[in-house]
Structures are given as C-alpha cells and as structure tokens.
Amino acid sequence: MNARGETLLWLVQRASAAVLAFCVLVHLATIIVAVQGGLSAAEILGRTRGNVAGLVFYTTFVIAAAVHAPIGLRATLGEWLGWRGASRDVALVLFAALLAGLGLRAVAGVFGGAA
C-alpha cells in the first residue's frame, strides 16, 4: 500500500480509537448504573427495545470496533507472522465485515423491535 493509503489507515485508526474510548466509558457507566438495583434480562430488553438513542450509540460502537481492530491486527500480523501484502488486507476486510456483522446482529437483537 502506498504512503497515502497507509496514512489514511493510521488516521482512521486514531479516529476510531477516540470514538471507542468515549463509547467504552459510556458503556461501562451504563452497566454499573443500570445494575445497581438488580435487573433481569427481560427487564433489560424491555428498556432497550425500541430505544433509538441506544440503537445509534451501539451501532456507532460496533462500527468503530470493526474499523479499529483489523487495522491494529494488520500491524500485528505483519510483525509477528511476517504476513504482508494484498492477501493480508483481503483477510482483514473479511474480518472487519465479520466483526461488523456479528456486532450489528447483536445490536438488532437488543435494540430492535417494539418497546
């Protein structure tokens, strides 16, 4: 990959890291606050289903993770396994799609449907 492509990947990874830092903090704070009084799975789903703000937040979270992790893994694969070149990038695009697919499926399960 040329210098421009590598630079854009680096920028995207830094930007997605900033999004993830915010999302992780909100996610952890929400968990800690929400379970203070004790919540069943049914009660949690009752609150999340149809919650548009939650849907937007966790969709953003999943997309940021799906973008961030493969770029980091790209360097790790190159340094640890010596795997570089187009085959590595194709594999990581598929890995990103897998992460996004699984994550968005979970988001749809928790936030989709009527309240």
């Binding site: 990959m1 040329n2 210098a3 590598e6 630079t7 920028l11 570089r84």
Partner: protein
C-alpha cells in the same frame, strides 16, 4: 590492583564470548577496556572507534545487554559485580568480533530521502531563517545525531520488521522536512510513510531512552506522522 572480568564476543554471526581480566582504573570507559584487551591481551580483536569523545558515532556496542556508545560510557556506570559483557551492536550484520556492517543502517537513511535537496545555487543569496523560527527549532532538536546506531539497535521494531527504516533515518528525514531550504519533501514524505516507515513505530521510545545524544527520534517520528496526515488530507502526498 583490582581487575575487571570481561567477556567479549569473538567471531561473526556464529561465535562465542572470550573471557579476559583487565586492570581496573578510575574513570575507565568501556572503550578503554576494549582498547586494553586489543593492545595488551589479544591483538587480533576487531573493534571500531575514531574520535573517543562522543562525536564520531563509530564505537557503539552492546554492553551488558544494552546498546551504548562505549567511549563515553564509564565502567562504573555499567559493570555488574565487576563484570562486563561486550558484544557487537544489535540488528546489524557482524563483520568480525565487535565490528558491525553499518551499510544496512545508512542505506535506510538514503531510502528515507535523508539527503538535503536545495533549490538555490551559489549565486543566490543565503536563506534567512530566524533562530526562533518554529521549524528551525524542530531541526535544532534533532540535528545533532552522530549516526552511532544505538537507537537502531534499541528499537524492537527493527527486529520485527526488517524493512523498517528505523529511528535515526526517520529523525534525519524529519530534520529535512522542517528545513525551509529543502525542496524534496513530497518525495520524502512518500518514502517515510507506511509499513516500513513512521507508521510502523509503536512509540515504545526505546530509541529516545537510549540515544546517547539525548535526542528524541520518537518526537521526530510523531512529527512525520502529523506531516503525512496533513499532506494526505490535503491531497498533496
């Protein structure tokens, strides 16, 4: 007289440590120790030095597992229990004993476009750059590199990614990127971006910790990342 137990690498890629007993002196440097061995104990020992005062960058070796310039490293500071182990500088091919082949190191300076590229001739006026110019200050911060290779040997990335240009070459590129007189920046930024360039750096700062001149190649590498980001977003890369 007190003595120092010294193990010195003999051979090339394959070889073994040879033991010597060297008289201990006050204010003795590691280079003094190696010189004593070569002059009094084994004249066949190969090592490299020139200025002996921290200017030429030729005497770097691995001393008790750490890359150091040997001419300015006092035995007092590094000997562990009266013992020294001296090996050639890491991450470079060994020619013989303590002498490494520095060609891969300096080839990477060339690949990082470490050559000054000016546009003025001798008939033009001097470029006038104020001492407090921000870019000039960036150049000043990195320009005193003596090319000793200590940062290169201290960098884990060089071992993990043999194509990685390394801290010294990138530091050199950064000093030129900040030089208002240089006109080769577009090609230089293209050369230092990517998997073998500044983006490979994990900011572990081994180079900055070990640089005997107290430079910060890490800061230069961060500067190159910023310059590349601006160029990529402006479409000038």
């Amino acid at each position: 007289m007190a003595s120092l137990r010294v193990k010195v690498w003999r051979g090339a890629a394959q070889g073994a440590f040879q033991r010597f007993e060297v008289p201990r002196h006050e204010s003795q440097t590691v280079l003094d120790v190696i010189t004593y061995i070569q002059r009094h104990l084994d004249a066949s020992l190969a090592y490299r030095f020139a200025c002996r005062v921290g200017m030429c960058g030729s005497c770097a070796m691995t001393v008790n597992g750490v890359a150091r310039w040997t001419c300015r490293t006092h035995v007092d500071a590094v000997a562990e229990g009266g013992a020294l182990e001296v090996a050639p500088l890491g991450h470079l091919p060994v020619i013989r004993d303590l002498v490494t082949d520095m060609a891969p190191f300096f080839d990477k300076w060339a690949r990082a476009r470490g050559q000054f590229q000016g546009a003025r001739s001798r008939h033009d006026d001097f470029a006038r750059i104020a001492p407090d110019d921000p870019d000039r200050r960036q150049v000043d911060a990195g320009i005193e590199c003596i090319g000793c290779g200590v940062c290169y040997a201290a960098c884990d990335l060089v071992a993990w990614n043999p194509a990685y240009l390394g801290p010294a070459a990138l530091n050199r590129a950064w000093t030129l990127a900040c030089d208002a007189r240089d006109v080769g920046n577009r090609e230089r930024l293209r050369a230092v971006g990517g998997d073998a360039g500044c983006h490979a750096c994990h900011t572990q700062m081994g180079c900055t910790e070990r640089c005997p001149k107290k430079l910060s190649p890490t800061a230069g590498i961060a500067g190159l990342k910023r310059a590349l980001a601006h160029a990529a977003l402006k479409g000038t890369l």
